[in-house]
């Protein structure tokens, strides 16, 4: 905020004045305790939470059920993995196995990965990062939480009472002719949570466009905001089409006529087109916010400006745009035309470009930085390694020739989990650990958080690396039985899943404990730049006491003043670096 005395004095002569250059940033301290009135204690009672329109409280409202849903999805995954210890199934009946992997996929995707970062960190930090008091539509924000909860409850109820055995993709005829499970109810649940996703996306887009503080130009937006913006664009453009696909599926089941059923004149490929038109961009809905978090964390813990701000910002938008043009690569073997397949294959290669731009820029940001390995940074390093593996194996699947070999094998499972768990889950953990002190005002255990990061990384790699090999040798996905020669791989996977599960339980213990036993974090425990760190921890109800005025780019960890002292041409240097005005 440009209100410090030093800032006002020097504002006229030079743009160098940063009120949070590393020299002046507060050291890690617990001296400045929480403010007297903050968003957690300015009103009490459960009604004050359920009727709140404060974006920060809504973020917390998302956090709690999301954690529970993650546990549910994790338990379902545990059941699947346990069952696969033996070639003919260890604990589950066949239909239970189908229901377990469907529950795992649907819960993790629709109730965890899609809403987690937009719901929690997006809600909490997008307004703070751009210097706004709240989202553009606070009541709509609360409404979208209720819509989401209603849809999620509906969905969970459908899973508990009868289950769902279609796989997360709802392909007909699994979901139309041959399913005797709760496809309609579950579809309705997805439909409803989709609306929440649309409304959240709408809110974030309007917020980024209309609520930025003076001086917060598009070129000064934190990259997390850029990523959330790109995500929201996908949400509002893709989700309605899924809603329509589910509508048509419901119509088909209710009227018993053929839209997707070929015996009645329909076409199952039509469903796949409509479904993947949403669900491929949906994986970018899942990963882009994670990529946004990475930018915030990696600059902070390497004390450097991001390398290539504009490239990273536009690569988010690039992923969002190109992501809409590649859905056909899920259908190489579904009978779509071979030439169409070739086009989709080439377009799929294109997505690798913005993704690679990001990875290279993060690596370049690390180069020459003063890197420290706090827990968020460990998660970020895990992210970069695992996401790179996930991204590169994605190329195998995008090339039509190799995909014919690898299609529907464990290779796909491993690729998807490397991007979604190794990528998104690690990014979520990084974001949660990075922002936890800001959200709660308390600091968690340094040792246990680093341990958790390492354990998750080890467990994750042990789970999914063997699946690449098993998949390459032709082990098909979703089958309850497998040839005996694959047993070793499956046992390794299950062992890894156990370690991983243990790793996920650790934050669920030490983060809540930090609320009671943690020391006060202070306003800026990581000495990070960014408007959100200029507020006290936990933030006050309206975030900023007065309207902040932004005078510089988001990641000015580097020391432009050093140039100023040594060479005397700092003005030009800063002007060039702060970029995109």
């Amino acid at each position: 905020m440009a209100t410090s005395t030093a800032a006002t004095e020097n504002l006229t002569e030079s743009v160098l004045e940063l009120d949070y250059t590393p020299q002046m940033a507060p050291p890690v301290t617990d001296l400045d305790g929480p403010p007297k009135v903050h968003y957690l204690n300015h009103s009490f009672g459960w009604l004050s939470w359920l009727l709140t329109v404060d974006h920060k409280r809504i973020g917390i409202l998302y956090l709690i059920p999301l954690t529970i849903f993650f546990m549910c999805g994790g338990i379902a995954a545990g059941l699947v993995r346990l069952n696969l210890i033996q070639p003919y199934g260890a604990i589950l009946e066949l239909d239970q196995y189908n229901k377990a992997f469907t529950a795992h996929g649907t819960i993790m995707l629709f109730l965890f990965l899609i809403p987690v970062i937009p719901g929690v960190l997006g809600n909490f930090f997008v307004p703070m990062m751009i210097g706004a008091k709240d989202m553009a539509f606070p009541k709509l924000n609360l409404a979208s939480w209720y819509v989401w909860m209603a849809g999620a409850m509906f969905f969970i109820a459908a899973l508990l009472f009868g289950g769902l055995d279609t796989g997360w993709t709802f392909y007909p005829p699994y979901s139309s002719k041959y399913s005797h499970t709760n496809v309609l109810a579950a579809g309705l649940g997805v439909f409803i949570t989709g609306f929440s996703s649309i409304l959240t996306g709408l809110n974030i887009i309007a917020t980024v466009h209309k609520m930025r503080a003076p001086g917060m130009t598009w070129g000064r937006l934190p990259l997390f905001v850029w990523a959330m913006y790109a995500t929201s664009i996908i949400q509002i453009l893709a989700t309605p089409v899924l809603a329509m696909a589910v509508c048509l599926l419901a119509t088909e089941r209710i009227f018993q006529v053929g839209i997707f059923d070929p015996t009645l004149g329909g076409d199952p490929l039509l469903f796949q087109h409509l479904f993947w038109y949403y669900s491929h961009p949906a994986v970018y809905i899942m990963i882009l916010p994670g990529m946004g978090v990475i930018n915030e964390v990696i600059t902070c813990f390497s004390r450097k400006n991001i390398f290539g701000y504009k490239a990273v910002a536009w690569s988010s938008v690039g992923i969002a745009v190109v992501g809409f043009l590649v859905w056909g690569h899920h259908m190489f073997l579904s009978g779509q035309g071979i030439y169409l397949g070739l086009v989709f294959s080439v377009l799929t290669m294109l997505v690798a470009i913005p993704s690679a731009v990001k990875v290279f820029n993060w690596t370049a940001t690390l180069y020459g930085g003063q890197i420290t390995y706090e827990a968020p940074m460990l998660f970020v390093i895990g992210f970069i390694v695992l996401f790179t593996i996930g991204g590169l194996t994605g190329l195998f699947l995008g090339i039509i020739g190799t995909d014919i070999h690898l299609h529907d094998t464990y290779f796909v499972i491993a690729h998807f989990h490397f991007t979604m768990v190794g990528g998104m889950m690690f990014a979520w953990q990084a974001g949660l650990h990075f922002y936890w002190p800001k959200m709660t005002g308390k600091m968690y255990s340094d040792f246990w958080s680093r341990m958790a990061a390492v354990i998750m990384l080890v467990g994750f790699s042990l789970t999914f690396l063997p699946q690449f090999i098993a998949g390459y040798h032709g082990l098909p996905r979703r089958y309850p039985y497998y040839p005996v020669e694959f047993q070793m791989m499956n046992i390794l996977s299950t062992a890894g899943a156990t370690i991983q599960g243990f790793g996920y339980l650790m934050p669920a213990v030490y983060l809540p404990l930090s609320l009671f036993f943690g020391r006060n974090a202070g306003a800026n425990p990581w000495r990070a730049t960014g408007l959100e760190w200029q507020t006290p921890s936990p933030p006050t109800p309206h975030n900023f006491e007065e309207l902040p005025i932004v005078t510089h780019a988001p990641y000015e960890y580097a020391l432009p003043s050093k140039y100023n002292l040594e060479s005397g041409h700092a003005y030009e240097v800063t002007k060039g670096e702060s970029g995109g005005h």
Binding site: L140, I198, P240, L264, G265, H542
Partner: protein
């Protein structure tokens, strides 16, 4: 959530909500938000229009027959009503801009009335379709038919197909010609057209009901004096954006559903 203190002597909510800096920002946000919402609506209807287009290209004859079986007379009246309601809601914005509160209430009320009459006619049309039995479904019956060798057989077809045949033959003229050229399989498949017909008009009706609900809510607010300061015209303005969109959807649905029979796709490919 604390809000700004109400203006002096004013017990209602302040015009500028607590999280906006000024009225211009609030107006811009509200207007922008509605446009973004309409973008999602376009994509929503886009999905079904895409499915419609694909299916119509596969089954041009069935779509021609299904469309011919519909009743375009009521739909034409409805088109007129809906266009008029778009006009009246525009007059409502004008009244809100100018602070003419009687005019605002009058035009809001006329929009509500026109929309409700539309729904009434639509219900009558659905009832007509129901009476004619043009409802897709799994019910089967048997009809006399001949097999490929000309030998008389009993063929199992859907009740819908029989009803469609009757409706088309009863209409006579071109409709009968179309019907005579169809096989029983094609008559069966015409159900797909009717799924789209009920699905698309049903979604449109749903949007109309939501819109009329919101209009009634705004009429109540207008009655209570909510729009008295002219700054609040923005709510009427975004409401009208939504209403125009619903109108526009109908402009697409009308030719796609009711006029598909007039423009045969036969022989295009």
């Amino acid at each position: 959530m604390a809000t700004n203190a109400p203006h002096e002597g004013e017990s209602r909510e302040p015009i500028v909500a607590h999280h906006f800096n000024n009225i211009r920002q609030q107006h811009a946000s509200v207007r922008f938000g509605m446009w973004i919402f309409l973008v999602t609506e376009v994509l929503f209807f886009g999905g079904v229009l895409c499915a419609y287009a694909a299916t119509r290209i596969w089954y041009p004859k069935e779509f021609e027959a299904g469309s011919t079986a519909l009743n375009p007379f009521i739909a034409s009246i409805n088109t007129f009503l809906l266009l008029t309601s778009s006009f009246t809601i525009t007059l409502a914005i004008r009244a809100a801009y100018k602070g003419q509160h009687t005019g605002l209430r009058l035009w809001l009320a006329s929009t509500i009335v026109l929309g409700t009459v539309f729904l009434g006619f639509k219900a009558r049309e659905y009832y007509g379709d129901y009476e004619e039995g043009l409802i897709p479904g799994p019910l089967k019956t048997q009809v006399d038919d001949v097999d490929t060798n000309g030998k008389p057989i009993l063929r199992e077809v859907s009740v819908f197909a029989v009803n469609l045949k009757h409706v088309l033959e009863h209409k006579g003229g071109k409709a009968k010609e179309i019907s005579d050229k169809m096989t029983w399989n094609e008559r069966d498949r015409t159900q797909i057209f009717f799924v789209f017909y009920y699905g698309m008009t049903g979604l449109h009706v749903l949007h109309m009901i939501v819109g009329i609900g919101l209009l009634i809510w705004q009429l109540l607010l207008a009655q209570l004096g909510f729009f008295k300061p002219t700054e609040r015209f923005i709510y009427i303005e975004v409401m009208s954006l939504y209403w125009h969109f619903v109108d526009l959807v109908w402009i697409f649905l009308f030719p796609l559903l009711y006029m598909a029979g007039k423009h045969s796709m036969d022989g295009i490919f």
